[in-house]
């Protein structure tokens, strides 16, 4: 079956611009996670959803970052006033429940010039 998909695969933007990154989880998975992976580092937790609600957003670095999952399926990570330090691969993962195996998407590579 279809895995987790993320769009776009690559996004180049200019400093100060707004970007949206989309994640389509595996159908039926209630838990959805966002991570950020910088070069040479492991994934760093940003936020997770259980259903439609953001259960824990403690990993979001500041208030420029926001994520939604309005219908409990697709999620969008939104970054306002992008900075060069936001450049990274943004990973999405979904799982049946919060204790189940996470399935990762291919990531979106964000480059802020």
């Amino acid at each position: 079956g279809a895995g987790v998909s993320q769009t776009p695969s690559n996004k180049v933007t200019e400093k100060g611009k707004y970007v949206e990154l989309r994640c389509d989880p595996i159908s039926g998975h209630t838990a959805l996670y966002w991570y950020r992976q910088s070069l040479g580092q492991g994934p760093e937790f940003l936020i997770y959803f259980q259903g439609t609600g953001a259960a824990d957003d403690s990993g979001l670095p500041n208030d420029r970052f926001f994520a939604v999952r309005p219908e409990g399926s697709v999620s969008t990570l939104k970054i306002q006033r992008t900075e060069r330090g936001d450049s990274a691969v943004y990973l999405c993962a979904s799982s049946l429940g919060l204790t189940d195996t996470q399935y990762f998407g291919p990531g979106t590579r964000l480059t802020v010039l």
Binding site: G3, V4, A31, G40, Q41, G42, P43, E44, F45, Y48, A55, D56, S58, G59, L91, A93, L98, T99, T101, Q102, Y103, F104, G105, P106, G107
Partner: protein, 113 residues
């Protein structure tokens, strides 16, 4: 905040050599432990996990890991590596009762045929 250390950042082996990748975590309480693998051009995927019970965990593709509580370690092993094991390997931990994993920075493994 908990941390995960992977001391070997780059490992180069010949086929049929034995592999051991180190992983140390910092949390002293109940912990869930994971090894993930990312093959070139592919998504991050779960290799094996430890929640409780037998401290020797067997995963896919002949990999195993041993949880040693006294050493805060969860090293990954494989008795005989293959060229197809070339990948990036990530160790992760999660405090019992939490749903947020902490990843190590990863180990790049190159296996020469």
């Amino acid at each position: 905040a908990q941390s995960v250390s992977q001391h070997n950042h780059h490992v180069i082996l010949s086929e049929a050599a034995s592999l051991e990748l180190g992983c140390n975590y910092s949390y002293g309480g109940t912990v869930n432990l994971f090894w993930y693998v990312q093959y070139p051009g592919q998504h991050l995927q779960l290799l094996l996990k430890y929640f409780s019970g037998d401290p020797l965990v067997k995963g896919i593709k002949g990999f195993e890991a041993e949880f040693i509580k006294s050493k805060f370690s969860f090293n990954l092993r494989k008795p005989s590596v293959q060229w197809s094991d070339t990948a990036e390997y990530f160790c992760a931990s999660r405090e019992g009762g939490s749903y947020i994993p902490t990843f190590g920075r990863g180990t790049s493994l190159i296996v020469h045929p």
